[in-house]
């Protein structure tokens, strides 16, 4: 273990490990078949180091398991943000970071030569001019320093106006507390709060799915391509098959499920001439290629299709363009009006009509009714009838119900009989 380092250079490998531990939370050493035991041990040690308070150890017959006990409803922050704070660096990086920013704190503009000279005079540290220039240019690119040219002279300075304003406005810190948990790329709000020596103790987020922060680098690259209206090449890895493939598409919108936190890129595939959604956790790399000439037209087209998408699927099992689904439910008036309210607020634009006292019909037309099944099942106990123009969906719905009757032996016996 002598070559063990707590910090890492590359995020992508670790992203998969954390995801496996977090999402599944029960894999033992023997179950990580595609990695060497040494790699497993190092990754596990890192995870325990970064996320110590949340790591849980269990002993099972197939070996010891570690898992992450991260229950979003009980936490004021996303512990997985810590994984973003593990980038390795050189000794020069960290020393120059503090010394250059301290040297320029009062807003004065200095040349690289003057900065190098002052580092020696004021702080007693000797750096060569090239190293200092590289760091200043890198910080200018990151936005930490301003670079100005006056004739042949290049000077660097920094501006604390915004930082000081944020620090003196407590309500901005409250907003950062909230958005770190509730908005995309919450890691940025978390780091900003940390930089301003503030910590959330006010907000919690229900239905917050912490693991998805691991896809934020991919999300950032996609947003950047979308802002530039650029086509992208995606390097994908199947979640189950692990097969690697590449896809060319025009990235148009990020679809988000509030029930699982899963995020998808909705893109247009020129080759197949259709829209498709890709789960962000299967995207490994995003490379912008060229400007998408018809970007705005494609966005409009997507908008027109939106009313027909239930989730993320643009096609069904058959050759039909769309399918129609009708569900009739029982809900006594007025005491069960909340059921009718559920149909309206969760039904994504489907029509809700009262067809008899205490009887309501919900009807919708979408590309893929198969995606509706989990939602339809939530009305179990109230469904009078369900019909769908896709016979597969209708059959599967009733078949699953029969399986559940058998599973819980509604007519007696079985796992449900104790109740």
């Amino acid at each position: 273990m002598s070559d063990f380092h707590e910090l890492i250079k590359n995020f992508s490998k670790t992203r998969e490990y954390v995801r496996d531990f977090f999402v599944y939370g029960f894999k033992s050493r023997n179950e990580f078949k595609d990695k060497s035991p040494r790699t497993y041990d190092n990754e596990r040690r890192r995870l325990e180091s970064w996320l110590g308070p949340y790591v849980q150890k269990d002993y099972a017959s197939n070996g010891s398991n570690i898992s992450l006990a991260i229950d979003s409803s009980l936490l004021d922050t996303n512990p997985l943000f810590r994984v973003w704070k593990t980038k390795s660096f050189t000794d020069n990086d960290i020393v120059l970071h503090f010394l250059i920013l301290d040297l320029l704190r009062d807003g004065k503009a200095l040349t690289v030569e003057a900065i190098t000279d002052s580092l020696l005079r004021q702080y007693g540290t000797l750096f060569d001019i090239q190293t200092v220039r590289r760091k200043c240019n890198a910080y200018e690119k990151e936005g930490l320093l301003q670079k100005e040219k006056s004739g042949k002279t290049v000077v660097y300075s920094l501006d604390h106006t915004l930082t000081l304003w944020l620090r003196s406005n407590g309500s901005v810190l409250d907003a950062l507390d909230f958005f770190q948990m509730a908005a995309p790329l919450g890691i940025i709000a978390d780091e900003l709060s940390e930089q301003l020596d503030h910590r959330n103790r006010t907000f919690r987020v229900k239905h917050s799915f912490f693991v998805h922060t691991l896809e934020d680098e991919i999300l950032l690259a996609l947003l950047s391509a979308m802002n530039q209206k650029s086509e992208v090449q995606l390097k994908m890895k199947g979640s189950k098959s692990k097969a690697v493939s590449t896809v060319l598409c025009v990235p148009l919108q990020i679809f988000v499920s509030t029930r699982s936190g899963r995020r998808f890129l909705c893109g247009y595939l020129e080759r197949n001439r259709r829209f498709t959604c890709f789960r962000l956790d299967t995207v490994k790399q995003v490379l912008p290629t060229k400007t998408a000439a018809e970007y705005d037209i494609l966005l409009e087209k997507l908008d027109r299709n939106r009313g027909l998408i239930w989730g993320v699927s643009f096609q069904n099992n058959g050759r039909r363009h769309t399918d129609t689904l009708t569900m009739t439910i029982q809900a006594a008036n007025p005491e069960e009006n909340y059921i009718v309210d559920r149909l309206k607020r969760e039904g994504r634009g489907g029509a809700v009509t009262q067809t008899a006292p205490g009887v309501y019909t919900y009807e919708t037309r979408v590309f893929d009714c198969n995606e509706m099944l989990p939602w339809l099942r939530t009305f179990t106990g109230r469904i009078l009838s369900l019909t769908c123009s896709d016979p597969f969906v209708e059959r599967l719905f009733y078949q699953d119900l029969q399986t559940m009757y058998q599973l819980y032996q509604i007519n007696g016996g079985g796992p449900g009989s104790r109740a």
Partner: protein
């Protein structure tokens, strides 16, 4: 704009805090701070660099490490951070926090910055359509009173319209403001006195609050909210067996990610998941379990099994009548 960059790293933050001690700091105190702010093994990496002067940012005076910087050390905002703030300005919920004057000042400071995203670039396809009224003045007022009271641990007098139309009025201490992404709604987790000095957490929808008034009284004792929440769980968790077909395992693990839970593998294709919950979570959890159909099997507790079986029995009866 790099998201995974050393400038945001844990070590940089730890060192910044150490360097912000104007009076100097002992090695024992450095140890203590690295332990509390760094990762578990950070000390092994940081201490030698400080002791041997590789990170030449301290001078030594006897036992003390004296900062070479002029505290407080402040890091300016990066392009990424400015771009993020600019994106927040387009979110309707920002008005819950910032008044018009603050919004104007911040917008002016960020005028040349390109926002990281625009609201229309995200589509929350299964979010409920009846979210909170973020533009409503009364809602803003209530939200801000509750936010301030929460931070000051101050009691508030709340007049509330219950879900069944019943009007209730009580004194509460706001413990947390909870946002539900699915409902696009804020709830107040409020503590209510239940006698003998004990407190009980209750959940109130902020949009149902008719009137809220801050009181002088503050909560004097310390209350651990999570202990109260855990105390409210049923003694027996919900035990599920998940058959790993149709990707059910991964879906279930994600779906139930926000519950306190424990998962173990019991054979080649089956996993056992124990979920801890209380009465207020029960109906939502039942609906979530039903949504998986036969991919999940509820093994216990008896109470949950009873609720599930009652729904199935009712369903069978309704269909047999058709």
């Amino acid at each position: 704009m790099e998201l995974f960059s050393e400038i945001y790293s844990c070590y940089y933050q730890v060192l910044r805090h150490l360097l912000n001690s104007p009076q100097g700091i002992t090695i024992q105190e450095i140890h203590r701070r690295i332990c509390s702010e760094g990762f578990a093994e950070s000390m092994l990496a940081i201490i030698p660099k400080l002791e041997n002067g590789t990170w030449n940012v301290f001078s030594r005076e006897g036992e003390l490490y004296l900062t070479r910087l002029t505290p407080p050390f402040t890091m300016p905002l990066s392009h990424l951070q400015k771009s993020y703030l600019k994106a927040l300005l387009s979110d309707p919920r920002i008005r819950l926090f910032l008044d018009q004057k603050q919004l104007t000042v911040l917008s002016d400071m960020l005028a040349p910055v390109v926002p990281l995203w625009l609201p229309e670039q995200f589509y929350y396809y299964d979010q409920f359509s009846d979210g909170d009224p973020y533009e409503d003045e009364a809602y803003h007022r209530h939200f801000r009173i509750l936010l301030q009271a929460q931070k000051r641990r101050q009691y508030v007098d709340i007049d509330y319209n219950g879900p069944r139309g019943n009007r209730v009025r009580h004194h509460y201490v706001p413990a947390r403001l909870e946002y539900s992404v699915k409902n696009n709604r804020f709830r107040l987790i409020a503590l209510k006195k239940i006698g003998h000095g004990k407190m009980k957490p209750e959940i109130l929808n902020i949009s149902r609050i008719q009137h809220v008034r801050p009181l002088e009284k503050k909560l004097s004792s310390s209350v651990d909210l999570n202990v109260l929440i855990r105390h409210s769980y049923y003694r027996e968790p919900l035990t599920l067996h998940i058959l790993d077909r149709r990707n059910a395992l991964e879906r279930a693990m994600l779906h139930f990610a926000n519950y306190e839970k424990n998962t173990t593998k019991i054979n080649e294709n089956t996993y056992e998941c124990r979920i801890y919950y209380n009465q207020t979570m029960e109906t939502e959890l039942l609906i979530e379990v039903l949504s998986f159909g036969p991919m999940l099997t509820v093994m216990g507790n008896d109470r949950f099994l009873g609720l599930l079986r009652a729904r199935l029995r009712k369903q069978r009866d309704l269909l047999s009548l058709q």
